[in-house]
């Protein structure tokens, strides 16, 4: 009978190997953790930057193609001192202008010239699916009944996504031909997780043009605010994960009202982008 001698590890050998492994594992995992945090932060930043670029490129392209006709084409920068409740979900700063677009002509718009409106949606609670969205609407030169619009100022309620479902009124609504991403409102959702959108208009000398601050839902006829020579768009936004965490810890639907840790968190994860757009002299200085 042959004795089988099995050479096995001793306890000490195993402990030494495990100790070496633990030390190596600890070093590698700590490095991995650090790298993971930096990569996540970098991914967040990239996502924010991409969203900001989409929005600012779209806005600046349409602003550079803005159309001016003396006394007829409105340019409306609405920035209320207080948010009038009559505006419902449309209380944030708004920019409305006429621009030459690349939309295909159809029954709602028989020319390439359309009205563009930009506004951040004003939510009253975070469960609203439109909370934090930058919205854009495009309106054609035809009324909803197919008749021609009588004037360039062809909206009596300068509201993003205006339809009869939103504002009760006697005016014949104009036809909007942006993609309808919600069941009964005609506007486009441009980018999400937006915490603020503001505009600053300048004249040729670089002086700031005072925006319309009246708490009125109806725009005045004709030129609403002075047609600018250049303007600055300021956009503040977050990435998806930070936005969700910010809401979880109690972020205010009106982010500027955040306080304490919630404000600190938002400021840490929110990024600000500014873009100066040159419009130039489109005839507004020729009078």
């Amino acid at each position: 009978m042959i004795n089988k001698i099995k050479k096995c590890f001793t306890l000490i050998e195993l402990i030494v190997v495990m100790a070496i492994f633990i030390v190596l594992f600890a070093i590698i995992s700590s490095f991995y953790n650090t790298a993971h945090k930096v990569i996540s932060s970098s991914d967040e930043h990239t996502m924010i930057f991409e969203n900001a670029k989409i929005a600012l490129d779209l806005m600046s392209r349409e602003l550079q193609c803005v159309y001016y006709e003396n006394g007829k084409t409105p340019f409306w920068h609405w920035k209320p001192d207080t948010s009038p409740s009559a505006w419902g979900n449309y209380r944030n700063e708004l920019l409305a202008f006429v621009s030459v677009t690349n939309f295909s002509q159809n029954d709602d718009c028989t020319s390439k010239i359309s009205e563009i409106k930009y506004q951040k949606y004003y939510a009253t609670n975070h469960s609203d699916s439109k909370d934090g969205w930058l919205r854009r609407s495009v309106t054609g030169n035809k009324m909803s009944d197919g008749s021609d619009n009588p004037q360039w100022n062809y909206y009596n309620n300068l509201i993003v996504g205006y339809t009869t479902d939103l504002i009760a009124g006697t005016d014949t609504p104009v036809a909007s031909f942006t993609a309808t991403s919600d069941s009964n409102e005609s506007y486009q959702k441009v980018i999400p997780y937006v915490t603020d959108l503001t505009f600053t208009c300048f004249d040729k000398e670089g002086n700031e043009i005072t925006p319309d601050t009246t708490a009125s839902t109806d725009a005045d006829a004709g030129v609403i605010t002075e047609f600018p020579y250049s303007l600055e768009v300021t956009l503040k936004l977050m990435d998806k994960n930070s936005w969700r965490k910010w809401i979880d810890i109690g972020g205010n639907v009106n982010p500027q009202n955040d306080t304490g840790n919630i404000k600190t968190f938002r400021e840490k994860h929110e990024r600000t982008f500014k873009k100066t757009v040159l419009i130039g002299n489109r005839g507004q200085y020729d009078n």
């Binding site: 790298a35 970098s42 400021e267 873009k275």
Partner: protein
């Protein structure tokens, strides 16, 4: 039948090889991160350059004479940090604008308390050359008629000028209001 097992030295060697392998893989992370940071910097520089050129164009079309103070040769870098800059508009600052040296700073936070990007802009001019207008070849236009603006953005501001990333932009402005 004798079963040959691994001994401690073999295991230690295996772990050592594993450690070297993992370390070399992990060492790629910083390179990737640096590339990402560079890419973000490139994006910021081109976006802010666009705003800067729009700002200069507006100033020039309002008063063409403002371009007289733009130096003809490339200015010498003079900024080493982003503190104490004079704000002009948007992300544009003019700490030494008279000598063609501007600052670009992208900030976040309610009071612009977080600096995301800070770079130095060197602005200089030259004459617009070799154009054809009204069926005529023109070798060089006078500064009163047109101007070629050169813009170099270098970042991050904390580094020595020679060690910074750099992007150059070019814009021709024509004085059509004269």
């Amino acid at each position: 039948m004798i079963l040959k097992k691994f001994n401690l030295i073999e295991i230690a060697l295996a772990i050592g090889i594993l450690a070297v392998g993992l370390t070399s893989i992990v060492s790629l992370f910083p390179i990737g991160l640096q590339e990402t940071r560079d890419s973000i910097g490139q994006n910021y520089s081109s976006e802010t350059a666009d705003s800067m050129l729009a700002y200069i164009a507006r100033e020039a079309y309002n008063d063409w004479n403002v371009l007289a103070s733009v130096p003809e040769g490339k200015p010498i870098s003079s900024l080493t940090d982003s503190s104490g800059w004079t704000h002009l508009e948007g992300n544009i600052y003019g700490p030494d604008a008279g000598n063609g040296v501007y600052g670009l700073k992208v900030s976040s936070g309610d009071n612009d308390s977080i600096t995301d990007f800070a770079g130095e802009v060197l602005l200089w001019k030259s004459k617009v050359q070799n154009i054809r207008a009204a069926n005529e070849d023109i070798d060089e236009l006078e500064y009163g008629d047109a101007i070629a603006l050169h813009l170099e953005i270098s970042w991050p501001i904390e580094r020595n000028y020679s060690q910074r990333k750099k992007n150059t932009f070019y814009l021709e402005l024509f004085n059509y209001d004269q």
